[in-house]
């Protein structure tokens, strides 16, 4: 800990109350406990506020830069635009095709996450609830996939995609997304299905429901909390993918997905590039994610940290 490790916390000596200069920068902190405790709280707020600024400022700066001119972007970083030009946003949308990449990303992720969840839940349910020879083998085959670095598979994967004729197609990208999302999805959902009570499914069997119907009408609704967490996990993971798109759909610009497009445009950019438009494109890639995040932050935090808490 960087701050005052020797601070007497519980006692709160009155002497340290008379150091108001230290607290000047602390925003709106109220001293609740003793005086030392109050000082500590103030310093806490300073540290926390500094990090919050470190997170927010680069993002806000990018939004503002989208309204600047090229010359302003290469001038002093900390001036506001003389006039707020909106046309970079238009150029990013139409000339740089950000609208198209956004739609591509939405389409690919919608299909691949749906398939991941469907296939993952089916496999996990069977592995969690049915005893059969080879159950453990199949389960460990899936789970071991979490340990391998994707880069080990890069060459053969590239060849498989080419041989199946799905290189530079969305089918190829979606199939690969699904395949590489299965290990964690199955790992998590198998554990989840195991926690659900068996009695409901047994009652459904007695009432004459088949295995398939029991799965879709009884077990899937019961597993909803787990399914929601992992859906969020997969949506964000697949939305943010960079490596898989650049090896599977590199050639056809019209098929690029958003992170791939932004990164490729920027790495090719020189000083003659339309920087305000690039900043606008970057903002357009970031804004929807921030809006979705702010609305669903609780679920998103739970979904992304789901793998790490037991």
């Amino acid at each position: 800990m960087k701050t005052r490790t020797d601070l007497p916390v519980q006692t709160g000596t009155p002497a340290s109350a008379s150091t108001p200069g230290r607290k000047a920068r602390a925003p709106r902190s109220r001293r609740s406990g003793g005086a030392a405790s109050g000082l500590f709280t103030s310093l806490s707020h300073v540290a926390l506020a500094v990090w919050a600024l470190l997170v927010v400022v680069p993002i806000v700066w990018t939004f503002v830069a989208a309204f600047k001119t090229n010359a302003e972007i290469f001038g002093d970083a900390w001036t506001l635009p003389e006039t707020w030009y909106f046309d970079a946003w238009g150029r990013a949308w139409s000339d740089a095709n950000i609208g198209r990449y956004l739609i591509n990303s939405v389409g690919v992720v919608a299909v691949s996450t749906f398939l991941t969840m469907l296939l993952g839940a089916m496999a996990a349910y069977v592995l969690a609830r049915y005893e059969f020879r080879g159950n453990r083998v199949v389960y460990f085959m899936f789970v071991s996939g979490m340990m391998f670095p994707v880069f080990l598979a890069l060459v053969p994967l590239f060849k498989v995609v080419q041989n199946l004729g799905v290189h530079n197609t969305y089918q190829g990208l979606i199939l690969v997304y699904v395949a590489y999302s299965l290990p964690f999805t199955i790992f998590f959902l198998t554990a989840f299905f195991r926690t659900l009570p068996t009695s409901v499914a047994e009652a459904a069997f007695i009432d004459g429901a088949g295995h398939v119907r029991t799965f879709f009408q009884i077990m899937m609704p019961m597993a909803k909390p787990g399914l929601v967490s992992i859906t969020i996990f997969n949506v964000i993971g697949q939305w943010n993918q960079y490596l898989l798109p650049i090896i599977i759909v590199p050639a056809d610009q019209n098929k690029w997905v958003l992170p791939q497009a932004i990164a490729t445009i920027s790495t090719q950019a020189g000083y003659e590039q339309d920087w305000p438009a690039l900043m606008a494109a970057l903002s357009m890639a970031i804004l929807p994610v921030i809006i979705v995040y702010v609305i669903f932050q609780r679920q998103i935090q739970a979904g992304l940290t789901a793998g790490a808490v037991k």
């Binding site: 960087k2 601070l7 007497p8 916390v9 519980q10 003793g34 109050g38 500590f40 806490s44 540290a47 990090w51 919050a52 997170v55 927010v56 993002i59 700066w61 001038g75 002093d76 970083a77 900390w78 089916m122 496999a123 049915y130 059969f132 199949v138 085959m141 996939g145 391998f148 670095p149 880069f151 080990l152 598979a153 060459v155 053969p156 498989v160 395949a179 590489y180 290990p183 199955i186 047994e202 295995h211 398939v212 943010n240 993918q241 960079y242 490596l243 090896i247 992170p259 932004i262 990164a263 920027s266 970057l282 970031i286 921030i290 932050q297 998103i300 992304l304 940290t305 790490a308 037991k310």
Partner: protein, 303 residues
Amino acid sequence: MRQGRLPFIVGFLAIPVILYAVFVIGPYIQAFQIALTEWNGYKAPEFIGLQNFRDLFEDEAFTSALKHHLWILITLPLATLVIALFFSFLLNVGGGSGKNGTMTGVRFSGFYKVVFFLPQVLAIAILGVLFQSVYRPTESGMINGLLGKVGIAPVQFLNDPKIALWSIIGVVVWQSVGFYVVLFSAGMSSIPKDVFEAAALDGAGRFTLFFRVTLPLLWDTLQVGWIYLGIAAFDMFAIVQVLSVDQGGPDNSTTVVALEIYRQVFRYSELGYASAMGVVLFFMTLTFAALTLRVTRRERIEY
């Protein structure tokens, strides 16, 4: 309910297993074979034994990539976890002690958590583009613009081979801290309050509480965090490719194994050699995970 059981099992498992076998398991196994060959992707692969692995260790780009991983492996988890622990301590205990010795978080702790976590939902490739503006070497860069105002000469964050790697690690730390703040906060709030109350009654101060009570109870979570960040340290592909000058430069000072693999495949068509790098990467990841689990193993504290 035994009828139709086998067809059901087979029916539900068939598609996921085939998909997974074709795109994941198959390639992983083939990679080990390809690593023993010389192959440009068109002619038939030629078996050359362990020659690729011998070449690897004379490959300067590759050996400097290995060295970088070692640095990243030490600094990335350490910096991220220390900062995250510090903030989750402030958020959960920093509000001072309540009436009965219970610890309270600072005000707005919910707000801070939302903000801190934000970079985690953004693509690392996109953050790479964003940080080009942060690190630009003139007054037009966010950091150098500020330094210029207090009369400090511009720092060559990405152009100076001595600091380029640290600048890139900084972005990953910046992105990851929020995730671990949320994770640790969840861990801290799941520790029963009476544990703290009992310690506080025995006269433990805020810092004693943190180091002697909270930290040991968070050990499992810390271990998970260390493994996650360690695995991330063996990747780093997107951020290095997007942010560094000349993709891994200057002078290979920021290159990583993943980037070398990518380069061998898509620039030089050395598919066998690239797979050999992949095999080395795999064994490094495996060794790291096994070592971490062994070294950090402790008696689990039940509560």
